[in-house]
Symmetry: C3
């Protein structure tokens, strides 16, 4: 474990004199182990949109490192999250990535759990004195709904989302919980997860790396710095004149999302909810990225595109212009992040200066250092 | 290294109140390193049937983690075990998995060793003053014969097998050393080796997981608990009425193994000799499993089927009904063990209760804890 | 980390009583980490022939574990070595393995560096107060030219090559810097890098392992032991009567290298410059091996063949007889080295005696022990 004190200071300076993080935080397994504990073991993690649990019995799995978590809607439609671990011998109970069912039945010894986690049957356990089924439900993971998204937290003592994100701008007027998924991609990237966040947090690289994006949107930092919050960064970014959305053509005749403010018609909104959600809201669709580190130098990224029912029901509705645009942009970014990691592995790396459009990167880095190193234990 | 004291206690309670092992013993590399030292470095390990060294010059290799051990019959037919390491520069001397030869010749500098390990020639070493060939034989590994099986032990100070297994039931009436191998399979399984043992040690899972086995044999624990010994578990299990062996059909017209007791005609005997041998004796054949951990989360398993010469010489002898039956059963079990490991990796795992048919699992777990953690050094 | 004191002693004894290195130095990751620091982080490493930087703008990359180093000729043709790490966010700047260019342009944010490493442009950094381009050149790695070869050193405090190799025989009469590359091969070998050096440092194995070489050259140790130096081993070795070079046929009508001494016409010269260069000079060509460990148990090896312009311009010039001869010999050696590592992994390995032709192996081993273990820190 590096002694963090020296460089906590240099990252934490005022922006103009601050320096980027030291290279080893991007690849050192000991640092990653600490991140797993201090960040992914304690922070709220977005696992997807509530529409994935639309009906009673709907379930899906989320893999977080060595963890597997079951997300399920019970008979009343109430969502739950459970460790995917049988209470008998520790076997993974559910193996399908998603589906619909009435019971979760362990394939080893046939212990069966209800959608609410209760142990419903355990063959022959009546022979074991003192055994009570009610003592062995699937173990719950904390779950909250936030703007239509499901968030889990492995820490029973974590603050509720309402406290962690109390400074987040109000998005309720967009009714994001009503959207429907219209696209999905996933990526395996050979980069540290923080490089993905840092990449998202600045558009200084857009002119060179994303010509297709650069021609449509202004590649400055997010102008509204009030939106740099306790546990997120982000805010609006301008769409250039002659365009009205972020797609291959930059022009759409899809109606805006219901509730979209006319004053925002040339805006796209980007948010990084630390640590694992990137929320990108164009006038006519929503894009999400879920960031799942699989090791210090590898990360699994899922992306989803959402539209409103009203849009989807229009004749000729076709979201491919948004999907392909971001798939192209994503792949450009992942290549840059992989290249960054290669450089950061060198003993010749030294922290460098932030460019003036990189205030959100600086904010992420400062949050990171405080969260991982500036704490007791 | 986990502090073992807390959970040694919980595993070691009386059966009805005992709890299963903590998850980390199934994947923690530090625990595995300790197992390599305390178990695989100190216990007797079965490497196969004596028939593999039937003639002078016969040899075969056994791989145990980073070790390679040569098993060889010398000119008198006496079996030996040697570290497969040249005494000159440490090169692996033998590279063929098995064969027959008169000398083991190192491919690097042509040092040649006899079948009894003696250094027979070392080109030009006469130029080195004080060099004496008799000082550099292949280094012996301890070897014992037990019921027709070869066992090695890397610990020069280990107790002899006669002391370790003095409470094992007498199988001498079966003359297992006279059997011949009629089948072989090997498997790479993504599971901790202990999960393989635990799986073998109970049939609570049989009804759900092994329908083809469940219809033939009774899926309770082994009824004769006197056979839970110091360094093994096992005993007889009943074959259901209408069947007379463990095969695809459950019925055979093969004669029983020579010496098989008529009183055992509806019995199959299962033994787990800790740590690496599973010995399964059906009325008409013998099945062995050799368990070779290759890491905390991977294991290499070899299986062999044996019959007596008298059986093999019968017209139409065909052991495939036994081989296919167990290959099917094995693959079902390996899948369960892999699934168990996936669950045990979770921080959400908590030790659970044993079911009443799992006394042999409990016995294995208690042996394991004592062997690995309740010891000096 | 093993406590080295015990076995430093046994390797460091006088040759006749010395014993080879303990097995763990060939596979222990902790030992390898120390080698990376004490040897590959402090010694001069050959990266290739100066002809690779023949013209201004020529560049190539060298990978050393997690390091990437740019070798480049600036506008004046002066060679430089730089860490391949952007001074802004640490990205790998150059990704082509070799080429020719005028600027090194980071693909992330378009920072551009001159061939001499100076930061020439950094878009929009003028907005950052106090930022001065001259403070952020590519970081230089020490570079020296030696007998026509480029050597780098990651240690700013390393002694110059002239001091490290002041006891190396004078090769200036051969004008090695004028040679041209006529062949190239690379190999991934599953062996520790030291096994490659030890293998090169003796021909005791040649009779058995290299029949095609053994028929041409005398397989004794190098006769001229004066050539065992502070930081290298090597010297001449005799070509047998009836042959005049080391090729498939053993006979060539290529003229000797310009400057080759007539008294050496039956000689081939072999040098191991510690740690990573093998320099093999036959009468009519030069062969080099560059040894790049990629882990404790893996090594990447590059080989190059060189001839003089005068030879190359002869009608019918064809170096394949030299290239194929060594490709065959190399592959035989890599197999032996991989086999040696397999044996050395065993706990049954014990250090052995050196054979009388292995004085250069002993010298390498003693150098190694002093360099890695007999030092402060």
């Amino acid at each position: 474990m590096p002694t963090a004190v020296d460089w906590v200071g240099q990252t934490d300076r005022d922006f103009e004199n601050a320096l980027t993080l030291p290279g080893r935080v991007y690849w050192d397994p000991a640092v990653f182990a600490r991140e797993e504990q201090q960040i992914f073991g304690k922070d709220w993690l977005c696992v997807g949109h509530v529409s994935r649990l639309a009906s009673p019995g709907d379930f899906f799995l989320v893999n977080l490192g060595r963890e597997s978590v079951i997300l399920a809607a019970d008979k009343q439609g109430t969502p739950h999250a459970f460790y995917n671990v049988c209470r008998h011998r520790g076997t993974r109970v559910v193996n399908d990535a998603s589906g619909s069912c009435r019971l979760f039945r362990c394939p080893y010894h046939d212990w069966a759990y209800g959608l609410d986690g209760r142990l419903m049957s355990a063959p022959n356990m009546e022979e074991t004195p003192n055994f009570r089924r009610e003592d062995f439900p699937l173990r719950e993971v904390r779950l909250e709904l936030w703007n239509g998204f499901l968030f889990i937290n492995l820490d029973p003592d974590a603050l509720p989302m309402s406290a962690v994100y109390d400074d987040f701008p109000d998005l309720s007027y967009l009714n994001l919980h009503r959207l429907q998924r219209v696209g999905y991609h996933h990526y395996d990237v050979d980069a540290n997860w923080k490089l993905i966040c840092e990449n998202y947090n600045e558009c200084y690289h857009c002119a060179l790396a994303h010509p297709q994006l650069h021609r449509i949107s202004v590649d400055r930092e997010y102008p509204d710095l009030n939106h740099v919050g306790k546990h997120f960064t982000g805010g609006p970014m301008a769409i250039r004149q002659g365009f009205n959305t972020m797609t291959t053509s930059g022009v759409t005749d899809r109606a805006p999302l219901p509730g979209w403010k006319d004053s925002d018609k040339d805006m796209v909104m980007y948010f990084n909810l630390y640590p694992n959600l990137l929320l990108s809201i164009a006038p006519d669709y929503l894009l999400t990225h879920y960031i799942w580190p699989t090791g210090p130098e590898t990360v699994y990224i899922e992306t989803e595109w959402f539209c409103a029912t009203e849009q989807i029901e229009q004749p000729g509705f076709d979201p491919r212009d948004a999907i392909e645009f971001w798939d192209t942009t994503n792949r450009q970014d992942w290549g840059l992040c992989e290249n960054a990691l290669r450089g950061l592995r060198s003993t010749g790396h030294r922290p460098g200066p932030y460019q003036s459009w990189e205030t959100c990167v600086h904010d992420f880095d400062r949050w990171y250092v405080r969260r991982v190193f500036a704490c007791q234990d």
